[in-house]
C-alpha cells in the first residue's frame, strides 16, 4: 500500500493535501485497490457550494461497488477535476496525483485536527485487513 507522509487521511479512505487554506481531496491507494477497476466517477457538488463535513461531493463506481466521496472538513468547493469523468481508470493508476477529485477552501481549520496522519491511517487499514 502506497502512502504519502505529506498528506492527511480519514476513515472514509480519502486523502487531503493542505496548502494554506486550500484542501485537495482524492481517494487512497488502499481504497482504489479495494474497489478494483473504477469505471465511473462524477462530482455531484457544484463549484461555489459550501458543504459541511461529511456532505457528499462525488460518486465513484467500480465493477463491483459504488462509493461516495465526502467533505473531509467544512469548506467551499473551488475546483473539480472534470477530466476524471472521462478517464475514471486514472483513479486506479494514480490515486494521489492525477486523480485528485476536488479542491476546496477550508472554512473550519480546527476540524483538520481530526484527520489521520500516514502512520495512523496505515494502522487503520491494517486493522481492517485483520
Amino acid at each position: 500500500m502506497e502512502l504519502s507522509t505529506d498528506l492527511k487521511y480519514n476513515k472514509n479512505d480519502e486523502w487531503v493535501r493542505v496548502e494554506g487554506n486550500i484542501g485537495t481531496v482524492g481517494i487512497t491507494d488502499y481504497a482504489q485497490d479495494q474497489l478494483s477497476d473504477i469505471i465511473f466517477m462524477e462530482v455531484t457538488a457544484e463549484v461555489g457550494e459550501e458543504l459541511e463535513k461529511d456532505a457528499t461531493v462525488a460518486e465513484v463506481e467500480s465493477v463491483k461497488a459504488a462509493a461516495f466521496i465526502y467533505m473531509p472538513v467544512r469548506g467551499v468547493i473551488i475546483e473539480t477535476n472534470e477530466e476524471l469523468s472521462d478517464t475514471p481508470e486514472v483513479i486506479n493508476a494514480d490515486p494521489y496525483g492525477a486523480a485528485w477529485m476536488f479542491k476546496f477552501e477550508i472554512m473550519n481549520p480546527v476540524e483538520l485536527d481530526d484527520l489521520l496522519d500516514a502512520a495512523a491511517y496505515e494502522k487503520y487499514c491494517q486493522e481492517r485487513e485483520n
Binding site: 465511473f40 462524477e42 463506481e61 463491483k64 461516495f68
Partner: protein, 447 residues
C-alpha cells in the same frame, strides 16, 4: 419429506431461549377474540364436485372472447397469437428466477436483451430497462429518475390531466413523503400549452400521455422544447401498439418514454400482470431505475449477455440507489417481445391501422346518431369520447342485456365529463360488432 423441520424439542428450546413457555405466548400482542376466528367453510367436496362448481362460477363471468368489448381506458382487448403462450410456458422461461448468474441464465438474459432492443426501436429511445410492473409504476419511476437527475434540488412535477387517472394516483402514492408538489392535472382544461407555462426552474419532470387517456393524438413538440429549455425532463406515456402507426416520442424531445406493454400480447386478465415499459436516453442511463441487460463477450470471445451497470441498484448502492426496484416483469416482457417479433414492423403497423380505421368507422356511425355526438373533433387513435343522452352506467347496463360490453364511464374520473363514454375499438371488433353497438345505442337512447 416433512415440511416443518423443527421437532418439539427444537421448539421448546427456542421458546426457552426467548423466555416463553408456549407457542401461543408469541401471539400475545394479537387480541384473543381475533386470533383464531371460526371460519364458516363448507364441508370438503371431491375433485369432480369442485371442478363442476368452479366451472359454473367461471361461466357466470362475461369473457371478451364471447362478447364484443368496447371497453379500453388503459387495458385493451387485442388478438393474442397462440405462439406467445407456447413460448411463455416453456419451463426454461416459466420457472426462471433472477438471472444473476450469467453462466446459467443466457436464455433469460438474451430474452430480456431482445425485449429492451425492441422497446428502443419502438419508442425511438436509446436505452430500455428490463421492465417494471406496469405502466403506472414505470411513470412513478420516471419521476424518481428525474429527482435523481436533478439531485433532489427540484421538487415540482407537472402531470397532464389526460394521463391515465390511475397512473397519476400511483405517482402520488409512490412519492408521498418526498416533499414534491405534483400539479397540472387539477382541471381537464389544462392543455399542453398551459402546462408549458407552468414549467419553471423548480420543475423536475413534465409528463403527458400519447395517445392521451381520451384517445387523442397531439404533437408535443413545443412542450418538449419548452421543457428542455427549463431544464426539466419531458416524459411521454405511450400506448406501444399505437407507435406502430404514430411518430415516436423521441422525435418530439422526450427524455423518458414509459407505457404499459399490455396491448402487445398480454391478456386483460382483470388488471394484470402487465408489464411496464421504461426507455430513456443514453445520457441518463446511470440514473435509470430497474435492471438492465447488456451484450458482451466471454473469455473465448463469444457473444453473451449479463446484468450491467448494477452499481445503480440497491443491493450495491444501498440507501443511495437510484430506485428500489430490483426486479422486472420477465414473463410479460417476454410476451411483448414475442408479440413484436412475430408481428414485425409491418405487422404491428397493420394491427395499429386496423384499430385506427375500425375506431374511426365506429366514431362516424355513432356521431351520425340523433342523440349521440363526438366530444372531440381532432385526430384520435383507437379510442374516442361520445357525449351520451343518458348516464353511461344505465346505457352500459342495457348494452349488457344485448351481450355487448360498453365503454368507460368518464364521469367517474372527470366531473365535467358526466354522461360521456370512452369507447375503444380494436382489430378484434368486427364490422358486425360495431354495427350492433350502433343499433343498440340508438335503441337505448331513451328510457
Amino acid at each position: 419429506m416433512a415440511y416443518i423441520p423443527h421437532t418439539e424439542v427444537d421448539r421448546r428450546s427456542m421458546l426457552a431461549a426467548i423466555g416463553l413457555e408456549r407457542m401461543d405466548d408469541l401471539y400475545d400482542a394479537i387480541p384473543k377474540e381475533v386470533r383464531f376466528p371460526d371460519l364458516d367453510l363448507p364441508e370438503p367436496i371431491s375433485e369432480m364436485e369442485i371442478t363442476r362448481e368452479m366451472l359454473t362460477l367461471s361461466e357466470a363471468n362475461l369473457e371478451v372472447q364471447h362478447v364484443p368489448c368496447f371497453l379500453g381506458a388503459g387495458a385493451y382487448n387485442h388478438f393474442i397469437p397462440s405462439i406467445i403462450d407456447h413460448i411463455l410456458r416453456r419451463n426454461e422461461f416459466y420457472t426462471a428466477y433472477t438471472p444473476y448468474q450469467p453462466e446459467i441464465s443466457q436464455g433469460t438474459l438474451q430474452a430480456i436483451f431482445e425485449y429492451q432492443s425492441l422497446m428502443c426501436n419502438l419508442t425511438g429511445m436509446e436505452v430500455s430497462n428490463a421492465s417494471h410492473y406496469d405502466g403506472a409504476t414505470a411513470l412513478a419511476e420516471a419521476v424518481i429518475m428525474a429527482l435523481n437527475q436533478h439531485r433532489g434540488k427540484r421538487h415540482k412535477v407537472l402531470l397532464s390531466p389526460t394521463i391515465h387517472p390511475h397512473y397519476r394516483q400511483v405517482v402520488r402514492t409512490y412519492t408521498q413523503g418526498m416533499g414534491l408538489t405534483i400539479t397540472g392535472d387539477e382541471s381537464l382544461d389544462t392543455s399542453s400549452a398551459m402546462l408549458a407555462e407552468l414549467l419553471d426552474e423548480e420543475t423536475t419532470l413534465v409528463a403527458v400521455q400519447y395517445p392521451d387517456f381520451l384517445g387523442r393524438i397531439e404533437d408535443f413538440g413545443s412542450l418538449g422544447e419548452v421543457a428542455s429549455q427549463a431544464g426539466a425532463l419531458f416524459c411521454v406515456v405511450v400506448n406501444p401498439l399505437a407507435l406502430g402507426l404514430l411518430k415516436p416520442p423521441s422525435e418530439f424531445g422526450a427524455a423518458i418514454v414509459v407505457g404499459d406493454g399490455q396491448p402487445l400480447g398480454i391478456p386483460i386478465s382483470y388488471g394484470g400482470p402487465y408489464v411496464g415499459i421504461f426507455t430513456t436516453r443514453q445520457q441518463y442511463v446511470r440514473k435509470m431505475s430497474g435492471r438492465l441487460v447488456g451484450e458482451t463477450v466471454d473469455s473465448r470471445g463469444q457473444r453473451g449477455y449479463v446484468l450491467t451497470l448494477t452499481p445503480r441498484e440497491q443491493h450495491i448502492r444501498r440507501d443511495k440507489a437510484t430506485s428500489n426496484i430490483c426486479t422486472n416483469q420477465g414473463l410479460m416482457a417476454l410476451a411483448s417481445a414475442v408479440y413484436l417479433s412475430i408481428a414485425g414492423k409491418q405487422g404491428l403497423r397493420e394491427v395499429a391501422e386496423l384499430c385506427y380505421h375500425k375506431a374511426h368507422y365506429a366514431a362516424d356511425k355513432i356521431d351520425a346518431l340523433d342523440h349521440y355526438s363526438l366530444w372531440h373533433r381532432g385526430p384520435f387513435f383507437h379510442e374516442f369520447v361520445v357525449a351520451c343522452p343518458r348516464p353511461v352506467a344505465e346505457i352500459n347496463d342495457q348494452l349488457l342485456d344485448y351481450d355487448i360490453l360498453g365503454g368507460y364511464d368518464l364521469g367517474q374520473e372527470y366531473p365535467t365529463l358526466a354522461d360521456h363514454m370512452l369507447i375503444a375499438v380494436t382489430e378484434v371488433n368486427s364490422r358486425e360488432n360495431i354495427n350492433d353497438l350502433v343499433t343498440v345505442l340508438e335503441e337505448v337512447a331513451h328510457d
